[in-house]
């Protein structure tokens, strides 16, 4: 299944851009499909998407992956926004999608990290200041240190990804005769375990360093506010019961051992004026009222 879907994507990547609507029709419900193509804005975004956008909008088949929980399916299907990879090339995008899908797989609890847009999240991070080590000290001399001295490699996070993906694919080509993204789930897990423990030896950087970037960023993308491209439909938050942008909990904190369950709220929900749990707006109003009182007190 995974292999077939990767193959389909790869073929699409090398082909024309119209593939996307077709393949999405395979996996999106009839109703969803109609509403999707009914949007002129989305259609325009699709046709204008550069080739590298392909992987970002590759539709998974969430209903097939976890039929037990259709409610966990993203409300907005992948590709319904003009999202595109800015940093990854096609091979890298395929790799990262295939990796994050194993680090956080889809099941009855939530769709996979891939389906939640985590590869896009990582791409956006690497394309920006984080990837360029904008807030890291990057002057030499460069020397190996003790574990207590922390990261001492020359590579920026973006460079570490590029090298790590190349070297992992070189390893899987040698070992399995194909790139990582075309391996079945069990073999991908074996390779990820080999990276994690440093058992797969790279020439450029320690493989566990690459794994730690990948793993840490995957968890970030799964749980960060959806505005960064991952945690689509707040599914990461729904899975654990995190309410997102916080509310006023003055009346809740004393309710011991009583779960607080609300639809989580994202930054965009508030900024765009979507209906949210009462406590959220209350907090904003209270903050403004407090500020007014402070100013009046002067």
């Amino acid at each position: 299944m995974a292999s077939a879907s990767a193959g389909k994507r790869l073929a699409a990547r090398k082909g024309a851009t119209h593939w996307r609507i077709d393949s999405m029709a395979d996996s999106v419900s009839r109703k969803g499909f109609v509403s999707l193509i009914g949007s002129a804005g989305i259609a325009a975004a699709v046709t204008q998407a550069p080739e590298t956008a392909v992987a970002a909008v590759t539709p998974a088949a969430p209903a097939a992956h976890h039929p037990a929980s259709p409610h966990a399916m993203p409300a907005a299907p992948l590709g319904s926004e003009p999202e595109a990879y800015a940093f990854f090339n096609d091979d890298e995008a395929a790799f990262v999608e295939a990796a994050v899908e194993r680090l956080i797989p889809g099941d009855h609890l939530s769709p996979s990290a891939k389906e939640l847009g985590v590869a896009l999240y990582i791409d956006q991070q690497l394309a920006g200041g984080y990837g360029a080590a904008a807030r890291m000290y990057t002057h030499g001399p460069w020397m190996p240190g003790t574990p207590q001295q922390g990261y001492q490699l020359r590579q920026t996070p973006a460079e570490a990804y590029r090298l790590g993906i190349l070297e992992t694919n070189a390893y899987t080509q040698k070992t399995y005769g194909k790139t990582f993204d075309k391996l079945d789930a069990a073999h991908r897990d074996d390779v990820l375990t080999g990276l994690e423990g440093g058992k797969i030896v790279f020439e450029s950087i320690p493989s566990e360093v690459f794994f730690n970037f990948l793993y840490g960023n995957t968890v970030e993308g799964f749980f960060a506010d959806p505005l960064y491209g991952g945690n689509r439909d707040k599914a990461g938050w729904k899975m654990i019961g995190f309410p997102g942008v916080a509310a006023n909990y003055q009346d809740q904190i004393a309710k011991h051992n009583v779960p607080y369950r609300v639809a989580p709220v994202s930054i965009a929900d508030v900024q765009q004026g979507k209906p949210v749990a009462a406590g959220h707006m209350l907090m904003h109003d209270m903050a403004l009222a407090n500020i007014k009182k402070m100013k009046e007190g002067r």
Partner: protein, 582 residues
């Protein structure tokens, strides 16, 4: 540039207090802040402030390591290497400094903490300290500081319950604390489920738990400067975030409206001080040189210079400016950089089935605590260590990138990891002790011989590792936490004591203390008890750099008290007769 009476290097808590007191006394004050201007409205408002990735993970409010950082090694045999990204500690940047992003845990140190050396020797004999321990008495006592603690608490609106009012012990408060002259300005916060489970277990074990004091106001509060603050919403975005409710005390919420309106005060942001300029005698400062927003070097003449930056930056600037003699660990002579200390963290996570803690609610300092194993509150006879730490169970807000614990034996990723995260996110909580750190001959700060900052100046070099007292106290406290975990009926508990060596990688604490310490002897201290430098009497190094060693508490309350004491001494004594105050 027109000369001013006083210049502040860095504008956070200490500069705010000093600027307020000195302008009231008629002095002109300029505050030079390397970072940006930020205020509650609009910078800390929801929803934008409640962005875990940007603030907590990418460090939006913090010092930028690409501009300046430290180098680090565990001991002087190693080569120090740059701390390329902040991890273990995260100093603040911008108006308000670290006082914007703190949790609001606000403590008074114990009476014992100020007399660590003499009381330890008196009770246990000199051998307990160990040959390399250079912890010493502060030169100021708790009783002398009490009025200033009180003043800072009423500035912030600290919420808590006294455990010792003028010597009378009060159950439910912290019965180990030194005598207070009056109650806290606000009642304790509303406790969470985990706080109450912790309290119950601690009581069963015969300990003395209490609701910990906090600078997150339990109700709206008008402070002792007439500034109206808000009440905490328990929103769970506190540490590493600014507070939109005006409930977490900071420069912005307690003093800024006054300074903003004060004609004798001027703030210049994006102004990075490069050095303090001394006259030819090297005994008097004539002002400071800074880089303005355009990158131009500007000389600001001043009669008084206050180093009011983060502790590490204060020490750095003293070394760069040639104020005082740098410490030499080989001979034990010199004082600048001596007795650098830190904070230990001991604790972990407890897991339960079928309980819901809602730990995404909370405030930075909402918690239960017990002080039975802090300072010298218990008999250390035969234990071969001194000190301890305050044992907390805090409900600080479980944001999921940072908080998604799993029980022992859970895979690190994949379906089983995910299932454990989903199961335990809301059925677990953490406990942590802030442990004291003693000073040792080999732990110090100096200038790095190799690495330089973005402005061409040598980086500060940190040489530091845990010593005997930290390891043994941490093991001891971990044992107590295991007892509490069992008493609470936890299904699983992951309780960690210190690793063999201090690492600069994982976050631990932004309580970097010492390096320009106070005392009564210029041979073993950099500043007197008014934080006035011994060598240049119109330069004051104000902050946690002055702690001779660190207590088992968060530092801000003591920094606030020491700063008020300094301000009073300047206004009442120094201005009449400029010169050494001690």
């Amino acid at each position: 540039m027109k000369s001013v009476d006083a210049v502040m290097v860095g504008v956070g808590w200490t500069a705010g207090i000093l600027s307020r007191e000195l302008t009231k006394a008629g002095l002109s004050v300029v505050g030079l802040e390397r970072g940006e201007f930020r205020n509650t409205d609009p910078d800390f408002l929801t929803p934008g402030m409640h962005d875990e990735l940007s603030y907590a993970i990418r460090y939006k409010l913090f010092q930028d390591a690409s501009r300046e950082t430290v180098t680090f090694r565990n001991n002087s045999k190693e080569t120090a290497l740059p701390n390329r990204q902040f991890g273990s500690f995260i100093p603040g940047d911008g108006l308000g400094g670290s006082g914007v992003h703190w949790n609001g845990m606000n403590w008074r140190f114990l009476e014992w903490d100020f007399e660590t050396r003499s009381r330890s020797i008196a009770r246990y004999g000199a051998a307990v300290l160990g040959e390399d321990c250079t912890s010493q008495d502060w030169g100021v006592t708790y009783a002398e500081l009490e009025p200033y603690y009180d003043r800072f608490e009423y500035l912030c609106g600290i919420s808590g319950k006294a455990g010792n009012l003028k010597g009378k012990k009060i159950p439910g408060g912290n019965v180990f604390e030194g005598p207070r002259s009056r109650e806290y300005p606000n009642p304790p916060m509303t406790t969470s489920y985990s706080n109450e489970m912790y309290r119950k277990a601690a009581l069963e074990l015969g300990f003395h738990p209490f609701t910990q004091p906090t600078a997150n106001n339990s109700q709206p509060y008008k402070n002792n400067e007439g500034i109206q603050m808000g009440g905490c919403a328990y929103c769970g975005f506190c540490e590493r975030f600014g507070c939109e409710m005006l409930a977490k005390a900071s420069l912005q919420t307690t003093l800024w409206p006054l300074l903003e309106a004060e004609p004798k005060f001027e703030l210049r942001t994006n102004s990075r001080v490069m050095r303090v300029e001394l006259d030819s005698s090297k005994k008097k400062a004539i002002g400071v040189t800074y880089l303005d927003a355009a990158g131009n070097e500007v000389f600001q003449p001043a009669e008084l210079v206050f180093l009011t930056a983060f502790s590490l930056n204060n020490v750095h600037l003293m070394l760069l400016s040639g104020i005082g003699t740098p410490y030499d660990p080989a001979t034990g002579t010199g004082v600048i950089g001596r007795n650098y200390t830190y904070q230990t963290g001991t604790g972990g996570t407890v897991f339960f089935d079928d309980k819901h803690f809602n730990t995404f609610m909370g405030s930075g300092a909402l918690g239960g605590a017990l002080d039975n194993f802090n300072g010298d509150n218990f008999d250390h006879s035969g234990m071969d260590f001194i000190g301890g730490g305050v044992m907390q169970q805090s409900t600080t807000g479980a944001r999921p990138i940072q908080y998604h614990p799993v029980p022992k034996g859970t895979p690190r990723w994949g379906a089983a990891w995910k299932a454990a995260v989903a199961k335990y996110y809301n059925s677990s909580f953490t406990m942590n002790a802030q442990g004291g750190v003693q000073a040792y001959r080999g732990n110090y700060l100096d200038l790095d011989p190799t690495y330089r900052d973005q402005f061409g100046q040598p980086l500060l070099r940190m040489t530091f590792d845990w010593g005997k007292h930290e390891h043994k106290a941490s093991e001891f406290i971990a044992g107590k936490y295991r007892q509490i975990a069992a008493a609470m009926g936890a299904k699983d508990a992951i309780i960690n004591s210190l690793a063999p060596h201090y690492s600069i990688v994982p976050y631990q604490s932004t309580h970097n203390t010492g390096g320009a310490i106070m005392g009564t002897d210029p041979k073993t201290s950099a500043v007197n008890t008014y934080m006035q430098t011994w060598d240049v009497s119109n330069v004051f190094a104000v902050g946690a750099n002055a702690f001779p060693q660190n207590a088992g508490y968060n530092p801000t309350g003591t920094v606030g008290a020491l700063t008020y004491r300094t301000a009073e001494a300047i206004v009442k004594r120094y201005l009449k007769a400029p010169g050494p105050l001690a």
